[in-house]
Structures are given as C-alpha cells and as structure tokens.
Symmetry: C2
Subunit: 136 residues, 2 copies
C-alpha cells in the first residue's frame, strides 16, 4: 500500500507544478484544495524542502514553491524520499541493499528471483515519469 505520506506528497507536488507561475503557495491552500490534514502536510512539505525538491518563504506572501522544473523531477527520486526503497525486499534494492538474514544464497532464492523482476518493472515506470508527466 502507498502511504498517505507519499500520496499527499505527490498531490502537493502536482498542485505546485500546475500553478500558473512559480510563486510561493501556502500549506493551508494546498491542504484545503487537496483535502489533506494541514498539520500532516506540513511535515511532508518540510521533508520535501530538506531533500531539495521545494523552496520555502516565511511570512506574508510566503509558502512553498518548486525548485526545479516539473520535467526535471523524477519519480524515482520522489518515491525514494517519500515511500522509501523501491524494491520490496532489501536483497534486491539498488540504493538500500541488505542481505537477508534467513537466506544463505540469494541466487538460490525464489523470492529474490521474483522480486528482481518486480523491482525492474517498477523502476522502469518511475524512471519514465517526471512530475510533468503525471499532471492531468
């Protein structure tokens, strides 16, 4: 299951990307328009800022804005920040690799064999989609 965090984060990014200009948009506006708990969204936008996707401005006329162009924001990067590893098991993860404690040999593991394919299929999708591509 996709976490609400990821879901809301994606919606917020899409909302910002579909603005006419790139002026700061307040959390309150995004939360209201996208039906998201404002406080929860706050923490999500904060992580997106700390990880280099968003810029922010305090005080009147402040808010969040995209730092890069939507077409330069890859879904692989967004998903890894919001949802975590793309792989379903650590032993097939490119960025978060870890050996399974219960598995003596990855090459002799059926789960590994299946999940490698799943990982590749998902990567393919995320690599082929930028924020610009998922706008409606």
């Amino acid at each position: 299951m996709l976490s609400k965090k990821t879901k809301y984060g994606l919606k917020a990014l899409a909302y910002l990307a579909s603005q006419r200009d790139n002026n700061p948009v307040q959390i309150a506006e995004i939360a209201k328009q996208e039906n998201i708990s404002q406080k929860f969204l706050e923490s999500i936008l904060l992580t997106l800022r700390k990880t280099g996707f968003l810029g922010s401005k305090k005080g009147k006329g402040g808010g969040y804005y995209l730092i890069k162009k939507p077409s330069e924001i890859l879904m692989t990067d967004v998903m890894r920040i919001l949802e975590g590893p793309i792989a379903m098991v650590p032993c097939v993860s490119l960025n978060f690799y870890e050996k399974c404690s219960d598995c003596p040999d990855e090459n002799a593991c059926s789960v590994n064999k299946l999940m490698l394919q799943v990982r590749d299929a998902n990567l393919e999708v995320y690599r082929n989609n930028t924020l610009a591509d998922i706008l409606v």
Copy 2:
C-alpha cells in the same frame, strides 16, 4: 515492503515445488530448511490450504503438498492471497476497487495516473510468472 508472511509463503511453495515427488512434507521440515519460525509458518500454510493451493494430511507421514502443478500456480493469485491487492492504491485496483475519499475525480488525479502504470507493470510480472518459473 514485502511482508514476512508473503516471503515465507513463497519460500514454502517453492520448497514444495522442488520436491522430487508430491508426497506430504511436514511443517517442521520446511521451517527448518527455510529458516522460518515454525508456528508462524503453520498459520501461513493453513491459509494456503484454505485458499486451494495446498492439500494436507494429518498424522504420521502427513504434511502439506501442492494441489496443482507448479506451472499452473500463477503469481498473481499467490500474491493476492498472501500480500493482498497488487495495486498500491484502492482506486486503481482491479480486484479490490474502492474510491478514494479525498479525491473528487480520479481522472484528474496525478497519483491515480502514476499508480495505474505501476499496477500494470506489476501485473505484467506476476502474470508472466508461475511457481515453476521462479524455481532456482
């Protein structure tokens, strides 16, 4: 993340599929060979039996065995039973569809647009793999 339940369930199925004959194999043997908590595996094999993947036999010489040929056991079916919906959000699920409460229009939703692609990519993998295909 793949749950341990699914991981262990797949390993158990693979273990049974790689037996020379289709004689019953005891829980204890599978648990030991695959480094799985026996009691936990017990409950997993029980659901696999109740959902028509396994047969069982009590008493001496008893255990679990595959009901169908490995090449006839589709990963789509196994995954849906063990892990639940293949889709990451209910609004793109084929078998477990549900409308998102926060989303007025699915066709205008970026998350929906991305997750549809993810679902299709995953389905493609699971449909193209039977239990026989993931044996090592």
